[in-house]
Symmetry: C2
Subunit: 332 residues, 2 copies
Amino acid sequence: MSLDHAASKPHDRLAAALTDEMDAVNVLIRDRMASEHAPRIPEVTAHLVEAGGKRLRPMLTLAAAKMCGYGGPYHVHLAATVEFIHTATLLHDDVVDESAQRRGRPTANLLWDNTSSVLVGDYLFARSFQLMVETGSLRVLDILANASATIAEGEVLQLTAASDLATSEAVYLQIVRGKTAALFSAALEVGGVIAQQDEALVKALYDYGDALGIGFQIVDDLLDYSGTDAIGKDVGDDFRERKLTLPVIKAVALADATERAFWVRTIEKGRQEDGDLQTALGLLVKHGTLDATKSDALAWMEKAKAALAPLPDHPIKLMLLDLADYVVARIK
Amino acid sequence: MSLDHAASKPHDRLAAALTDEMDAVNVLIRDRMASEHAPRIPEVTAHLVEAGGKRLRPMLTLAAAKMCGYGGPYHVHLAATVEFIHTATLLHDDVVDESAQRRGRPTANLLWDNTSSVLVGDYLFARSFQLMVETGSLRVLDILANASATIAEGEVLQLTAASDLATSEAVYLQIVRGKTAALFSAALEVGGVIAQQDEALVKALYDYGDALGIGFQIVDDLLDYSGTDAIGKDVGDDFRERKLTLPVIKAVALADATERAFWVRTIEKGRQEDGDLQTALGLLVKHGTLDATKSDALAWMEKAKAALAPLPDHPIKLMLLDLADYVVARIK
């Protein structure tokens, strides 16, 4: 990838605009993921933290604080907090998914074991909580405690609802909020709160993060059936793992008796045969649910952009608007 | 067990003295472990929360607050917080230990699966955090965030140190603080903090909990080699699971070359044969490490009782003194 091309991505422009702050976040992350007593901890976390994730969530916190003119030190703590919560959920997800790859590398639970993933995740969660306490803001603690509960609830909900054909679009939305949107919205909201913005602006930041996160996850779920560029993810993974996502939920709602029997067999009972993925894709096309899902993703991104309207003009605001467009550009 | 006998136990006298408060805690626990969206959550937690654990930790919080004359509502929140943190760690421990029994019932991860144990534990941890935020006390949040980090760190340390013959008594103590003492001491400390006691009394409560927890765990580890009444635990479990505990650590320090080779084979390499447990017990007796461990437990309990000296006379103070004696009475 050429540098020019890289510079055109809103994510990279955000990173460039927030270089000093992200450097401080990275220093704090390295400092706080250490453990005086248990060397296994930095071994496991370094593997994840150094793996070159995009650090999108901490950048959202820094972006919100900067747009709001924050001059104190605690946006750095909050950005590190958000990344720690995210990393802790990735570690626990690895156990849940028993997934073999994360960001193109073997997952921590294959390199070490499930127990390390569980316990180091717990450690990072506790460390994130210590970082929040340092900010001295109960409001921030409240927001991130609520986000953490929504994340865990969404993950549990996914366990039971993902292969249940009765799962509605409303339940899917709840799962998606837990998986993705709750931390996006909280990451932005705390940036505004620490900068002591008024409620309307804090709510605008929350709404942008919520809609961006939902749209982001819908795009991800759509690419699982239509994409070619999804890194580390093959087309049809969700189908093979019997995970109901929006394109299928919409197709189930429109299914005739024969089609319904197909979804019951493949998703609910998990008795999949050769050719089933092709049949499933055919049904999504027949009922136009890939297009309908794409429309939903576009609508969420319009909602995200509209949410930013109350915020004053700022170069970072433009990058956040572009970020919303960039996410859906993957499916255009 | 007769009621008279039951009434003689300090734990039961504490429960009787705190009936109203514990009722309020139980109501709050039931309310907060519910989930609007994910019915799996109360299924898993009810299994644990209703399983009739002793609720020792929340009682310690209530006891501290009552001794300190606290008149507000938040001791109930803090007691529920402490029980949620404890329950979350039990759920994650079940995954770590792959243990089949907890409190005489099948563990949640056998009734459901590892994933439910991990995610519902995360949910309870997030809920505990919300309860703390409601108290409005950053000091309380700080104490329980630090305790949570110590717990997770101790568990990770145990993963790597438990089968390593180089593990010292100092490392064992660190593990024990994580496994047991950190939550005991925090449970008591937050009871004093919420009652706005001066620092000397808060420290006294912390020190009592720390020593009680360490003594409690040493007794537990000793009973694994010498006990008959350990519920749901067979003699020699720690040996079979290759967990270095204090009696063995002391015996390894005194081992000759042949004995050391035995410990290397059985604990470090885990190549155990019939008769090894008897040989191990023989080495503990030969070096007097069961008696030495017992002396350590007694010393910690004396330290616990001495710590309470600065607290004013109160019926609950007498029960806490008796509780320390009761814990070591199991090995006398």
